[in-house]
Symmetry: C2
Subunit: 281 residues, 2 copies
């Protein structure tokens, strides 16, 4: 840690590393910016190998380790896995080797869902890999083994969001099919278990109705990060994120396209993104 | 070539290397098996980094070079890029460095389309990267500069095919939207410029009507390969593909899932697929 302090001023001022398979994790970065405005961020989107949601555990772990090695070259003080798939499949494995704190989006989402359900019936939607990992179910039942958890992969949601069809009859029809079984299970809580899904929040809310509480793990993760930084004594006490460029963005492919999508999600315009060869890490 | 002959019996009996970003290129492998039953095949699907269709030229070239280096370790006598995106973006660059013949799916598709159109108005559908490369247009106009070529990216088609919704009202609605502009251009020929699209052939045919000729580059590529092997004098003169395992399959992720999809496309069951780390090549 001494080296880090010497290089970057104080450890308090070191950035948070945030990573995702692509652009989706920006919904998590956005919540961190809103809730922890005094923290710097280094974001990495693995746009050359996106998506992760249909890939195997071994591959997701290998990709995550490469990204963590890259983020460590940026002297981050903590890491947030802003990708449900990587959080579900790789967090347990990668945290063993790391000497800085790391959190994913799954645990904070699971804890809040377990707390808000009244009838003990929770639905989870996400990628195929996230749902098949049963990680949300496992974590929810660690809080309360009596809760029933129903998962449903929704593989068309990400391409529909990236097509920009957020409020569209096709997307509505697809969502109705995907959510039908969950609604028949009488769930009262639904976890939006993929970083793209909060962008479909209003459409999903219309289909499931007001009686179903929607949990956005992105928001819960920002709150969890806040508690973590306090607990570890590494929160930045300053009033705003320090440095000339408090938020830095790296990708593994096509920086321009990432920038356009990012500028539609974030509350300000990104000026530069840097492309790196992640396979070298 | 001497080493290859010594290792594998004769050069005639050496396999054809076929690669794609994932499973889609199996529609090309299938046409090669049907039309050149005496040739061995080594297939590689880059399932760890699929899809290519939304990624940049630099990245596609880098991935293609790694795969070609891997295929060369398998002593292939020729290579087929069974992926429209990689054919459009990388073929020109990679063929410069190669001492064995290599072909892609774009040129054979373009040549046939240029030959069959009567009114000189051709539509092309494919991934974003394929369409934005304008490679079909460029090649068609090399055959006949008077032909008008209209491109349309269809990013939802691949996930819809992978969801298995081949004859489905949602897929039909999406296809109607995607094809509307092309039909207004009065095309009489439509190139199915992505290896997944032949699986939507009947649905697309219903929407565009019988007066529009559908071109399947997979079939045209198998015919082109046949001519190439004859011309180079390296076709296998035997009556069937030699060796205990004439067709071998390699992937970069999750061999089991690939096998299931492959067994639904190919006319026989794949027994083994091997997973390799493509980033090491």
């Amino acid at each position: 840690m001494t080296d880090m302090c010497r290089e970057n001023g104080s450890l308090y001022e070191a950035p948070i590393g945030v990573f995702d398979s692509g652009v989706g994790g920006l919904t998590v970065a956005r919540e961190i910016m809103r809730n922890l405005p005094n923290e710097r961020i280094v974001y990495f989107g693995d746009t050359a190998r996106v998506p992760y949601g249909s890939k195997s555990k071994d591959t997701i772990i290998r990709f995550s380790k490469q990204i963590i090695r890259f983020l460590q070259t940026q002297n981050v003080k903590a890491i947030v896995i802003a990708c449900n798939t990587a959080s579900a499949l790789a967090l347990e494995e990668v945290e063993k080797e790391l000497d800085i704190p790391i959190i994913g989006v799954v645990k904070p989402g699971a804890r809040v869902a377990a707390g808000v359900t009244k009838n003990g019936r929770i639905g989870v939607i996400g990628t195929e890999s996230t749902i098949n990992s049963h990680m949300y179910k496992q974590l929810i039942q660690e809080y309360n083994p009596d809760i029933a958890v129903y998962g449903r992969p929704c593989p068309l949601f990400v391409p529909l969001v990236e097509e920009g069809w957020l409020k569209d009859s096709v997307t509505e029809e697809v969502a109705k099919r995907y959510l039908k079984d969950l609604l028949e299970q009488d769930i009262d809580t639904l976890i939006l278990g993929c970083t793209h899904y909060p962008l479909l929040r209003s459409l999903i809310g219309k289909i499931v109705g007001e009686q179903v509480h929607l949990v956005n793990p992105a928001y819960e993760t920002a709150k969890e990060l806040e508690r973590l930084l306090e607990r570890e004594g590494i929160a930045n006490p300053g009033e705003k994120a320090p440095g000339k460029e408090p938020y830095r963005f790296f990708v593994s492919d096509a920086a321009d396209k990432f920038k356009n999508f990012a500028n539609s999600i974030l509350p300000y315009d990104i000026e530069t993104t840097r492309k790196i060869n992640i396979e070298e890490y």
